[in-house]
């Protein structure tokens, strides 16, 4: 495996971990918010950090994931073109989903600058994105994926 391939794998792995973290933080934000909204002060209230901290962690993890994915995707696409990878095209679900995740978490990472896209909506988006990240990892690891044919 060449250096570019290693950097593609490394950056994509870091990105996936950061996106999972972002999704988990988003989920925790929603759980704590729901508990506080219902005026219950149970285990989430006692054990989770402040809503503000969770919102920041959601965005920061999304930003790390976004940067990792930017590098990982570009290197990967470049490699695929250079090596004429069999099965690679922009309609491929693995590629398409990765691109969608890149846009999705990019929006979350910069959501503070977007009017009307506050912590709660960002958390919903990150929690939803978590499912997509897991699905993307699943697709990549499938035996018939184009990644496995490389």
């Amino acid at each position: 495996m060449g250096a570019w391939a290693v950097s593609h794998v490394a950056m994509s792995t870091i990105a996936a971990a950061a996106l999972v973290l972002s999704g988990v933080h988003g989920l925790l934000y929603l759980l704590l918010f729901r508990e506080m909204r219902e005026r219950r002060f149970g285990r989430w209230f006692s054990h989770l950090p402040d809503l503000d901290v969770l919102a920041k962690m959601t965005r920061r993890s999304a930003l790390i994931g976004f940067i990792g994915l930017t590098v990982g995707l570009n290197v990967g696409i470049g490699l695929a073109h250079a090596e004429h990878a069999p099965g690679f095209n922009y309609h491929n679900p693995e590629v398409l989903l990765s691109l969608l995740l890149w846009v999705h978490f990019g929006v979350i990472a910069f959501s503070e600058k977007i009017r009307g896209f506050g912590a709660r909506r960002a958390s919903y988006a990150a929690a939803g994105g978590l499912v997509a990240v897991l699905l993307s990892l699943f697709l990549v690891l499938l035996p018939h994926s184009f990644h496995s044919s490389l």
Partner: protein, 414 residues
């Protein structure tokens, strides 16, 4: 306690009644004189004191022994209340309760010191209404002393010590930092100022006061680098706020959903925290339905937060036990000794008469100042011996051990 009179306490508190019930029986500072006079008109009542805070409304009454006033006090102060929502204590049990309240042991926030200021204000009101007498005046002084001592000598005075502070702690759980937040404090009374000070200490971005009287709002706003507004500006102020805290006495300001711009709240997608520290409540229930981003809490909710936080404070409470029993013993001994005062006056008069008679019988002693001084000295010393004996017997009328048992019984009954 006193052979001729009974001390009765009738009340309700956060332990027995929900906010919705407590707010019906609040006695405002303005209504206190009339309430005290009405209590004094009850047959047999010779002294009265009323403590009304956001956590409790209680009346402390002195009446002749054998006359049961608790039912009449209950009818006067707590009409239509369900039996289990109010409580009544007599004599030593009432005394224990008063000392525990002053120590902050019966407060929502364990050890909070606001209750001392509230007892002081209640005492001043009762003093002005002339409803305090030889039993309640020293009792309330002793209660204030107990409150200060417990906070100074135990760990109960450490940490979060007011409901206002608990409200701010909840706000911290939402916003983390306050540098970029705007707060609106409705009500420029004592609690409002306390809340505003906490927010200022936490470097709140902007702070606004809204009050019924604009002059009062301007006075406190000036001290706290805030803006001052009348209540008519509430909708515009709420639209700019991230945190709204209502600390209103009486029902001078009720904030309902109509004061909120639903579209604006939804569009900005940011938590809007609304905390009601008023009693009766000043924030209408429909505010919580304005949008999912609106978090509304009242005193009841904050008391649940406190209960979660207080699980580790039992050791501090244990430390108060000895102080309370000692102070109870001291107070009861002094009361018993005070009951001897007519006997002491008779004794003093008798001693002096005997001395004068003796001096008269020995004609030449009157001309010698040294003999006169000696006679006075002997009388005084003999009287001191008699008074010391009386004090000692007063101290033994009720042993510290029996009071300790009584205190345990009280705790078990809670």
């Amino acid at each position: 306690m006193d052979p001729k009179s009974t001390l009765t306490l009738v009340g309700l508190s956060h332990r027995t009644a929900a906010v919705a019930v407590r707010e019906r029986y609040v006695v405002s500072q303005a209504d206190l004189p009339a309430c005290l006079s009405a209590l004094l008109k009850i047959d047999g009542v010779s002294e009265a004191f009323v403590l009304s805070t956001c956590n409790r409304t209680e009346a402390l009454i002195v009446a002749p022994r054998g006359v049961d006033v608790s039912a009449r006090v209950r009818a006067q102060l707590f009409r239509n209340i369900e039996a289990e929502q109010a409580y009544a204590y007599e004599d030593v049990q009432a005394l224990i309760h008063v000392f525990r309240v002053a120590a902050g042991l019966d407060s929502v926030v364990l050890g909070e010191s606001e209750v001392l200021a509230q007892i002081k204000r209640g005492t001043e009101a009762a003093q002005a209404a002339q409803t305090l007498g030889p039993l309640l005046r020293p009792l309330l002084q002793q209660a204030l002393h107990v409150g200060k001592r417990v906070r100074a000598e135990t760990d109960l005075g450490q940490g979060t010590l007011s409901v206002a502070r608990v409200g701010i702690d909840v706000a911290t759980r939402v916003f983390g930092h306050f540098e970029h937040q705007s707060a609106l404090v409705i009500g420029a009374g004592e609690t409002g100022v306390l809340v505003a000070k906490h927010l200022r200490d936490l470097k709140i971005g902007s702070l606004a006061f809204a009050n019924r009287t604009l002059e009062r709002a301007q006075a406190v706003a000036g001290e706290l680098n805030a803006t001052a507004h009348g209540l008519d500006e509430l909708p515009a102020l709420v639209a700019r706020a991230d945190i709204v805290i209502a600390c209103v006495e009486g029902q001078t300001a009720t904030l309902d959903a109509s004061a909120f711009d639903r579209r604006l709240v939804r569009r900005r997608d940011k938590p809007l925290l609304v905390i009601d520290l008023s009693m009766p409540r000043a924030i209408a229930a429909d505010v919580a339905k304005v949008d999912r981003n609106v978090l509304v809490y009242d005193l009841e909710d904050l008391s649940r937060v406190v209960r979660e936080n207080e699980k580790g404070r039992n050791a501090a409470v244990e430390g108060t036990h000895e102080i309370l029993v000692t102070e109870l013993h001291k107070f009861l001994s002094l009361r018993t000794y005070a009951a001897f005062s007519p006997a002491i006056a008779v004794l003093r008069e008798r001693f002096e008469r005997v001395r004068e008679e003796t001096l008269d019988a020995l004609a030449d002693t009157r001309s010698d100042p040294a003999h006169l001084q000696l006679a006075h000295e002997i009388t005084r010393k003999l009287l001191d011996v008699a008074l010391d004996q009386m004090k000692e017997s007063a101290r033994h009328t009720r042993s510290a051990e029996s009071l300790d048992r009584e205190y345990q019984r009280f705790l078990e009954s809670l």
